[in-house]
């Protein structure tokens, strides 16, 4: 772990440019700052609306980091949380993304606590049928379809993202093909009540 950390430091110090031997006394930095927002061991932080990374699939995490970096996510002015995230990813190098994915992979997956109120899981179960095609019966995710696990994710985050898909704040960029699929599928939830119902059902599932 220590070795990886030092390697990450040296990689990043090189990336920032302009840092030479004469300035070695300058405070070094690395790109392992995810836990500042995403909480201890990446378990999510409602206080800054940063979702759980622990347990997130490496292929999904990579795709989202690359989407943020390429300005394909977090650009719509109403996507408040996405806008907060995008600049964090803008300056990441490929090496830094690799390193972050290794680091995130080292965190233990612990399902998030349910926090939302007002949803009806029974109604949500019916709505979830469409979601299950890609995300799986237990919301465990399906890599071959590019669909991440939903079970165990922070419910407030799922609600925000579904609202964003529904309103077109996420998934509207032409390069975001998976996002475009989600925008089509999310229409079956129709409105906020549908979203609360389906997320309260997802809260009953475990991977």
């Amino acid at each position: 772990m220590l070795k990886t950390f030092l390697l990450a430091c040296s990689l990043c110090v090189m990336c920032v440019g302009g840092v030479n031997a004469a300035e070695t006394e300058r405070e070094p930095f690395d790109d392992r700052y995810c836990t500042t927002c995403h909480g201890a061991d990446g378990r999510g932080n409602e206080g800054v609306q940063a979702p759980r990374l622990a347990g997130m699939e490496s292929w999904y995490l990579r795709r989202q980091l690359e989407n943020f970096r390429a300005d394909m996510r977090g650009v719509h002015p109403q996507d408040i949380e996405g806008i907060a995230m995008r600049p964090m990813a803008t300056k990441l190098s490929d090496e830094s993304i690799d390193d972050i994915i290794d680091w995130v992979g080292s965190w233990e997956y612990v399902p998030a606590e349910a926090t939302i109120e007002g949803g009806d899981p029974a109604r949500g179960r019916g709505l979830y049928g469409g979601c299950a095609v890609c995300h799986g019966d237990r919301a465990q995710g399906n890599e071959s379809l590019g669909a991440p696990a939903l079970a165990g994710q922070n419910d407030w985050y799922l609600v925000t993202q579904l609202k964003n898909f529904l309103a077109g704040y996420r998934g509207a960029h032409p390069g975001d093909t998976y996002g475009a699929q989600m925008r089509t599928m999310v229409n079956t939830l129709r409105n906020e009540a549908g979203i609360l119902n389906v997320v309260s059902y997802i809260n009953t599932l475990s991977r």
């Binding site: 220590l2 300058r26 930095f29 700052y33 500042t36 201890a40 409602e46 800054v48 803008t90």
Partner: protein, 522 residues
């Protein structure tokens, strides 16, 4: 169309004012004056050998206050600091320093000189903040006057005189003159005598004339108070032209300009000589060895007889077991750290919103403002950069550091920009006051507190609306102020009703220590 105030409406206003005055009877008003007690002197019980371990989470000034005071009476303190430096939002930036804003990390390239620094966080100490000042005295921190309001600085608004910057003194002198003339006209009307005795009316008229620099006919025809257009020393002074009241009313900036020396900025303001982090250094000279840097707290578990804290440092996880814990981790980051706090405590942590103040600074190649009669103080602009601060220190030296922007209310406008976009915005805003600004400044730094690593916000915001604290907010606040099991205290300016000031952080720490002490004595 603008609305005319009728004489009847004005009378009603006056009698309403009379009603207010009547309510503030001398006795009760005096009774409401704040106490003028000395700064709290901690008189804490010496540590008990069996329970003397203290964990302090965060090396901001509240955490340092706890470490300093408890170390004096024999506690063994350990401070876990997630970032690379002490001080929290006391952040003085100098040559070579890292500005650890996520997504915008950069080093400060200012010249390496003692007066070339920028207080990116705390920058002013009102003379009434006596607890902080007592520590400054005790820790031998040199202080100097911070120049806040400066009448020779500028006011600039695109709506005012086509955007031409005017001196603060022109705005305030003329505004006061016209306001006084209006008031004098109303008072002169016979029916206005009614609310006042002759003596009161005479005193009031004297105040009004003096307030507005009115002539013997109670008219405002300009005033030397605004300075001279020419002469004034070896020759008679030439009065400056008046700016028409209607023109002055085109800007709303009077709200700011006419109340500059009130509230928190009413008392004389001070700063630490050489940078506000000299205060931090004063504390760390005593307790710096207790700080473990780059130590991120992973969990806080309050037990019957103490507090267990797990944290990551140097790529491995550590356990710190303490008898007491004082925690100044920002509330919005504490919600992401595993804990076993009671639900109301967690609700309070989640309730607080994080401020998003934004500051930027330039190095000036020469102190061009001093050639323009400006020594310290603030120019106000009606644009997003909002303020330019001229340094109170380093007068007549070659260069200086200018505050190029300060948005204390909602810094999201600049926060959302790239570093380069922010700099261009400040250049473009600043050159509306100083035409050659773009060529006179260099080496920018920008600090969006919303994105500062290990901080992610500025001062805590408890109130959701302007009308004051709700009952629910007060309950949450008091819940958060109380310890968990008598073992864990949240501290910092976030646990005060007046966040954003060092004094509030110091007082919250003192409150918590006093509470602990009281429980131990019981």
């Amino acid at each position: 169309m603008s609305k005319q105030v009728t004489r009847r409406e004005f009378l009603n206003l006056l009698s309403a004012a009379g009603g207010t005055a009547a309510a503030l009877k001398a006795g009760s008003a005096l009774g409401l004056l704040p106490h003028t007690a000395q700064a709290a002197s901690m008189d804490l019980l010496a540590a008990n050998a069996a329970s003397r371990k203290v964990a302090i989470l965060g090396a901001g000034i509240s955490g340092l206050t706890v470490a300093y005071e408890l170390s004096k009476v024999g506690y063994e303190c350990t401070i876990l600091e997630s970032s690379l430096r002490p001080g929290g939002r006391i952040f003085t930036v100098r040559h070579g320093d890292l500005i650890d804003e996520i997504g915008n990390r950069h080093y400060c390239e200012f010249d390496d000189e003692p007066h070339m620094y920028f207080n990116a966080g705390a920058a002013r100490i009102p003379s009434t903040h006596r607890n902080l000042l007592a520590y400054c005295k005790e820790l031998n921190i040199d202080l100097e006057i911070f120049i806040n309001e400066n009448k020779t600085s500028y006011v600039q608004d695109p709506a005012l005189l086509g955007g031409k910057p005017i001196r603060n003194i022109d705005y305030t002198t003329h505004s006061r003159g016209f306001l006084a003339e209006l008031l004098a006209k109303s008072l002169n009307a016979g029916e206005m005598d009614q609310p006042f005795t002759d003596q009161e009316a005479e005193t009031l008229m004297g105040m009004v004339r003096s307030f507005g620099s009115l002539d013997e006919d109670n008219l405002y025809k300009g005033s030397f108070r605004a300075g001279y257009a020419a002469g004034g020393f070896l020759e008679h002074g030439v009065q400056k032209d008046i700016i028409a009241f209607r023109d002055l009313l085109k800007t709303q900036m009077g709200r700011q300009l006419l109340s500059a020396n009130e509230g928190d900025t009413g008392p004389i303001l001070l700063q630490a000589v050489g940078g506000m982090d000299k205060i931090t250094e004063g504390f760390t000279k005593h307790v710096g060895h207790q700080i473990r840097y780059r130590s991120m707290v992973n969990s806080v578990e309050v037990k019957e007889d103490g507090v267990d804290i797990s944290y990551d440092q140097d790529g491995s996880r550590h356990l710190l077991q303490a008898d007491f814990c004082f925690n100044c981790i920002p509330s919005h980051l504490m919600t992401g750290i595993t804990n076993n706090f009671p639900s109301q405590y967690v609700d309070a942590l989640k309730y607080i919103r994080r401020g998003n103040a934004y500051k930027a600074a330039f190095q000036a190649k020469e102190r061009f403002w001093e050639k323009d009669d400006i020594y310290g103080g603030i120019s106000w602009m009606n644009n997003p950069s909002n303020q330019i601060w001229y340094p109170s220190s380093g007068i007549h030296k070659e260069k200086g550091i200018l505050l190029a922007a300060y948005d204390f209310g909602d810094g999201s406008f600049h926060t959302a920009m790239t570093h380069e976009e922010r700099i261009e915005a400040h250049l473009s805003d600043g050159e509306k006051i100083h035409p050659n600004y773009r060529n006179q400044v260099e080496k920018p730094i920008t600090v969006a507190w919303h994105r500062m690593n290990h901080m992610l916000g500025c001062s805590a915001r408890w109130q959701r609306n302007r009308s004051g604290w709700t009952h629910e907010e007060e309950e949450l606040y008091h819940a958060l102020q109380q310890p968990v099991n008598g073992r864990h205290y949240m501290i910092g300016d976030q646990v005060s009703m007046h966040s954003a000031w060092q004094e509030s952080a110091v007082m919250s720490a003192q409150w918590a220590m006093t509470d602990m002490d009281r429980r131990l004595r019981a």
